[in-house]
């Protein structure tokens, strides 16, 4: 039952992430990315990483993708306009290099393509995954956890400074830029 579920979710994950990079419309790409993140969260659940699976849905599919969609709609992008010889050349090169990467991986993994070991019994089954992760996070990994808060603070200040834009524009040029300028504080 579990391998069957895994194959189903893996198929959803691969197809939707392929559609992310193939679809012309950025909004559709973002929505397929949400689907990919949800499928990945389901795979985490199958691996008994319940906490990570739920954080994946809340943080990735929730917060990060809302930010993406907000910026896409703020910039008012339509379909991508693509064409030209250099573009075809670059696109061909891109797919070629991707195929080379897959071939490399297959070559390296060829010895290990036997099914490999299956997972040992779940260590967190007694106490629950979230409790175990929390215990580890607040004991052995306490210092990195605190550093994380500094990282988020720096990112927040950086985003505000970057998105605020320039203030010292001359008044003549500032007048049309003002309409586009003020919503940037929300981004």
């Amino acid at each position: 039952m579990i391998p069957l579920l895994f194959v189903a979710f893996a198929a959803v994950l691969l197809v939707s992430s392929l559609l992310v990079i193939l679809h012309r419309n950025p909004v559709t790409s973002a929505l397929f990315l949400v689907l990919a993140f949800c499928a990945l969260a389901a795979i985490y659940l199958l691996l008994h990483a319940e906490f990570i699976g739920l954080v994946q849905v809340v943080v990735y599919a929730g917060a990060i993708m809302v930010l993406f969609l907000f910026v896409i709609m703020y910039l008012n992008l339509g379909h991508d306009v693509e064409g030209g010889v250099t573009l075809l050349l670059r696109r061909g090169l891109g797919w070629l290099l991707g195929a080379a990467l897959v071939a490399e991986g297959v070559l390296l993994l060829r010895r290990g393509l036997a099914p490999g070991p299956t997972a040992p019994p779940d260590p967190a089954a007694v106490a629950g995954n979230t409790q175990q992760v929390g215990l580890l996070l607040y004991s052995r990994y306490l210092f990195p956890f605190e550093i994380t808060s500094v990282l988020l603070l720096v990112a927040m200040i950086g985003v505000i400074v970057i998105a605020r834009g320039r203030r010292e524009t001359p008044p003549a040029a500032a007048a049309p830029a003002d309409e586009a300028g003020s919503p940037g504080e929300d981004a």
Binding site: I2, P3, A10, L14, S17, L18, V20, I21, P26, S29, L33, A36, L40, I43, Y44, L47, H48, A49, F51, I52, Y60, A63, I64, L67, F68, V71, I72, L75, L77, D80, L87, R90, R91, W95, L97, G98, V102, G105, L109, P115, G116, P117, T118, A119, P120, A124, N129, Q132, V133, L136, P144, T148, L151, A155, V159, I162, A163, G165, A177, G184
Partner: protein, 100 residues
Amino acid sequence: MIPLSWLLLLSALLFTIGVVGVLVRRNALVIFMSIELMLNAANLAFVTFSRFLNTLDGQIFVFFVMTVAAAEVAIGLAIIVNVFRLKETVYVDEINLLKG
């Protein structure tokens, strides 16, 4: 149970899709989404090995990777918004101010 090699294969394929997305697309936002796909492939490998080695440290690392990804997305999107204000485009091959 799920064999180890299936999970690693899935992680590798997901990473490759992200790489191809970065190489092929020219919309900066889609390139950014491809980078997110690559981060998630790494996270999947972390969770897989955390399960198979019977420790939870891999899941803690995924937690930190998610934090870094959130910070990276916020700053990257702010930069893209600024570039759009300056150049009126998000296509990376039209952003060539550094070209002599």
